[in-house]
Amino acid sequence: MNRWRRSVDEIQARKRQVTECERALEALCKVTACFQQMAISIGSNSDGSFLREEMDETRALAHRICTGLHRRLVPLLTERATEPGQEDRLQVERLWVIFLTGLENLQQDLHKASDLIDRFPLKQRNDRRALVNTGASDGVIGVSARAASVQTPWLAVEVEQNPDLKTHITQIDALVKEMLQKVSIPFWAVEATQEAWVEGAQSQDTAHDQDETLEEMMVVSQDDQMSGCCQPLNCKLGCMFCLST
């Protein structure tokens, strides 16, 4: 009787851990996406100390999520393949593959960011002149707020030191190596749950429709150019007229 109850408890605990990990993975995706958005502005005219600080904070967040996930996923996978609670083995392997891919993605972005930060140091004043004029303006506030809004169960609980960029990179390298050594599962056996092309067919909210005009905005000016008007001034007026018809 006791043994039965223990295994039920184990199953429930395991299920809880797996859902925690799933949510953490979604959070990791969110944070890496935000980090990438910020990294895109490095070296451009919208670069600045504010951007770099926000990037550091996002990176620290990502670090905490990664270490927490690592601490939870590895025992889930290295447990003996006994009957109670192992039906979700497939799901856990899937999470493992997603985590590894996410880590690699983050690793790549960190390398790029580190390289760019080295190339565009902001220490002296005339360094600002060397920033590339890309036409972007400061816009990372929303992005960093989005990153900061991420929730994971262990975020508030486990406080660790935030590593600086170079140490972070070496830590992730070591993490990936260790993970590949400890757990050996065939990644290519994992099948995706998503079918192809599904994400495009899902219904979107009204904000999505505004996006279409962005693309069309670009196209309109292109059509005008092809119609042969040579003066940009004329194009401007033409644009307005084109859109009204």
Binding site: C29, H111, S137, W197, G200, S221, Q225, P232
Partner: protein, 487 residues
């Protein structure tokens, strides 16, 4: 867990991209508010986006900065666009710089091409998924093909890809509208450079990857100096030619081959790499019946040219058959076969050659001088790949001095010359060029080509009263290829 044979994080060096460091220096100079390229705001319907530059401003700036001609500045500007440092705002698929008021913008450093990082397919998959979300499934043809391909072989990562695409899409929406437009343009330009749609020429074709950084200085160890010493010793020992003679030879070569160089003279009917029309290749295939005029003209340049062109060699063989002196060419081809063939068949081939051409009373005895014959026969006791070299050179010179001249005056050659075709130059309109680009298809698979050749060989072998000339030459000609792999 992308498979990486070498966990290098950047130590793989892509050779032709060593110039990127210099390009980046140029880009940074262009940013200077006083001495850089003038920028203007781009007025769109809803908003204004700063930092648009015109093509003519870029070209003028380059011409002034480096004191070069306008044409060269134009070529340099096109290179900047082809590498992806500047992207066009209109007509984004053509990576050229138009020296007029066409608008461009600088690419953000995150999207600059990097020598150290290969462009990952995972990122491309995420981009395509994002585009799919945004355009609700309406992607271009080549994007759809790529998407399906990536979905198949990256299936294990696909959940991550879709999740990340959704998150990146939502993160992108957090930015202000003009920034979002700029980012979309930047990302699209990045992928046009690194995964060019059909019909786009980008500069990212970089060949093999190397393990050595071409930019790095070599360490001066004793081995380094030893190599320098060997090199200088060898150059001292080399036979020297007067520079007037060698320069004269170069000039003569340039004058003769000027009209045949596809870079300097237009390729007739059109250069397939430029117009995507393969008529040129079809007209110049190895087994074509009627060669082109340019090809026939090349045969008159030198005997080597005639022999190295398979169609020319066929013509020469026909001429020799009429003169009943085909054994020279057959011997030469047998020697080539021995040189380039597989090691397993070498002994056998060498013996065959001896029996057919060199032995006393052989069926196709060739006439070489006594000394060469002695050396060759002695070498054949222990045959190796180059054992027939001396004899081959002798026969080559014989054919060159004797038969070649007669061939050029012969009715066979004159007839071929008369029948040769001179195709007109294609004139394609822009829409036709695009249609050509869409219709591009890979050529016949080499497996099928090999099968066809095998069939032809079999046919030649079984055809009627065996003309030894044809059989020997065709066999030794075709035998150059590697035999098909064993099952």
């Amino acid at each position: 867990m992308t498979i990486r044979n070498v966990r290098d994080h950047g130590q793989r060096f892509r050779p032709r991209m060593a110039c990127l460091k210099k390009v980046e220096a140029v880009m940074l100079e262009m940013q200077d508010p006083k001495t850089g390229v003038k920028s203007q705001p781009q007025k769109l319907v809803i908003t204004t986006i700063p930092h648009a530059i015109t093509g003519e401003d870029v070209v003028t700036w380059l011409a002034n900065r480096y004191t070069i001609e306008a044409e060269e500045a134009w070529a340099l500007g096109t290179m900047l666009v082809a590498f992806g440092y500047i992207y066009p705002l209109q007509d984004h698929k053509r990576l050229v710089i138009k020296p007029d008021t066409a608008l461009y913008r600088f690419q953000t450093p995150y999207f600059w091409p990097a020598q150290q990082w290969p462009v990952e397919d995972t990122d491309y998959a995420i981009y395509l998924a994002k585009r799919n979300i945004r355009k609700k499934g309406v992607l271009e043809m080549h994007e759809q093909e790529q998407y399906n391909g990536l979905h198949k072989w990256m299936n294990h990562k696909w959940d991550f890809i879709v999740m990340q695409a959704k998150e990146q899409y939502r993160a992108g929406k957090e930015r202000k509208k003009p920034d979002r437009a700029v980012f979309d343009c930047q990302e699209r330009a990045y992928w046009v450079v690194h995964r060019p749609p059909p019909g786009t020429v980008s500069a990212m074709d970089y060949g093999l990857e190397r393990m050595v950084d071409p930019n790095a200085e070599e360490k001066e160890t004793s081995d380094f100096f030893r190599r320098i010493m060997i090199f200088t010793q060898q150059s001292i020992m080399r036979p020297r030619v007067k520079s007037s003679v060698s320069i004269g030879a170069l000039v003569k070569y340039s004058i003769t081959c000027n009209k045949h160089d596809p870079f300097l003279a237009p390729c007739l009917p059109s250069n397939p790499w430029v117009t995507d029309d393969v008529t040129y290749w079809l007209l110049n295939m190895a087994n074509v019946d009627i060669p082109t005029k340019m090809r026939v003209e090349r045969w008159t340049f030198s005997f080597g040219e005639l022999l190295s062109d398979p169609r020319g060699r066929d013509d020469f063989r026909l001429f020799l058959k009429k003169e009943f002196s085909g054994e020279n060419l057959a011997f030469w081809e047998a020697c080539e076969d021995l040189k380039w063939g597989t090691a397993a068949t070498m002994n056998e081939k060498a013996q065959q050659v001896y029996k057919t051409f060199l032995a006393r009373g052989a069926p196709r005895w060739i006439n070489i001088d006594g000394k060469t014959m002695e050396v060759t026969v002695k070498g054949l006791k222990h045959p190796h790949r180059y054992v027939l070299d001396a004899a081959q050179t002798h026969i080559f010179m014989l054919m060159k001095k004797d038969s070649y001249g007669r061939y050029l005056k012969s009715p066979v050659f004159k007839d071929t010359q008369k029948r040769a075709i001179g195709p007109d130059q294609h004139r394609f309109s822009v829409s036709q060029l695009e249609a050509n680009a869409r219709k591009r298809r890979p050529s016949i698979s080499p497996i099928i080509v090999r099968q066809q050749e095998k069939e032809e060989r079999a046919r030649m072998a079984t055809s009627g009263p065996v003309d030894i000339t044809q059989v020997m030459s065709k066999l030794s000609n075709k035998g150059k290829e590697v035999p098909p792999p064993k099952k």
